[in-house]
Symmetry: C2
Subunit: 207 residues, 2 copies
Amino acid sequence: MVEQKATNVHWHEGNVTHDHRQQLLGQKGVTLWFTGLSGSGKSTIAVALEKALMERGKLAYRLDGDNIRMGINKNLGFSAEDRTENIRRIGEISKLFVDAGLIVLSSFISPYRSDRLQVRELHEASEFPFIEIFVDCPLAEAESRDPKGLYKKARAGEIKGFTGIDDPYEAPDKPDIHINTAEMTLQEEVDLMINELINRGFLLAYR
Amino acid sequence: MVEQKATNVHWHEGNVTHDHRQQLLGQKGVTLWFTGLSGSGKSTIAVALEKALMERGKLAYRLDGDNIRMGINKNLGFSAEDRTENIRRIGEISKLFVDAGLIVLSSFISPYRSDRLQVRELHEASEFPFIEIFVDCPLAEAESRDPKGLYKKARAGEIKGFTGIDDPYEAPDKPDIHINTAEMTLQEEVDLMINELINRGFLLAYR
């Protein structure tokens, strides 16, 4: 199979480009930016979507608190300044992965409109696609799920500046995709995302 | 072809893992860390190796000054502290790409042994492979090439703290691979790297 893959990539001179990598992968690089309250279902959708993409032979990569906050951003705290730098770095990393040809699934609360706009502009400046997905869930519902027990701690005052409790969540005005997790099943959410990716031309047939 | 690729990845439950991505790509993720003086030939090798890998259907991604210093690290200067943070972030990003299954080609002078060791340890802590390649070239030779005119500026005092002129380059004691660019052709260098990658098991047949 190695030879067969290689024959699908043709060029004679010059460096390997974004297009060559996309051709090799049979997909288009894109950042899917999931924003929403803690407990809204961002990571759940991202994990399930990653699996659905892999089943189609598509390469995705998830960026989330586990591999970012514990890694490259471990020297950042939760001040307004650090939150903005946190999102800026994630945006830059997402862009590198898109350049590499991957479908990036970035799941961060990212509560501030201006930060999300900055990440969008960063992508658009390089003509890389950026899709904002509002993972919409009423606060009461997210708080009742409380998968990490964080709302309980925030209500008890053990966590300060928690989004939705004592720090604002600025919902997207015009998200590219709107998912209401309180009214959809996970399968419906994944199907919606896959259909959006197909319709927008990101999942190419393997050439 | 989409279906055929998909049949090569089998699992029923659980999240997509590092191994699934490597299987999809038919390769093993690894960071190839090219260190050496400005003008030693790091980027030249990386560009040519990336092309040789693509011709074999393998997905690589280059990290270099162009996409890092202008992007995620644009808020860093050239103080000792900032140089260390620069390399730390590049190490963390390299690790994310390895996790995604890619062959990372990181080309940075990275003059300090302790910084390079930090990146190695970062990888080894997650059992990700890290290969240090010493792109060895005598200072006089690198300075005579001076592709970006930087040595001239450093000698004229227009650039301060330039590696090899008024800032030290700490050569690797025991690099994993040693390339003497003053004595090898580019083709020989690429052949050496491809052979090393094959022998170390990073270029799998497509399964």
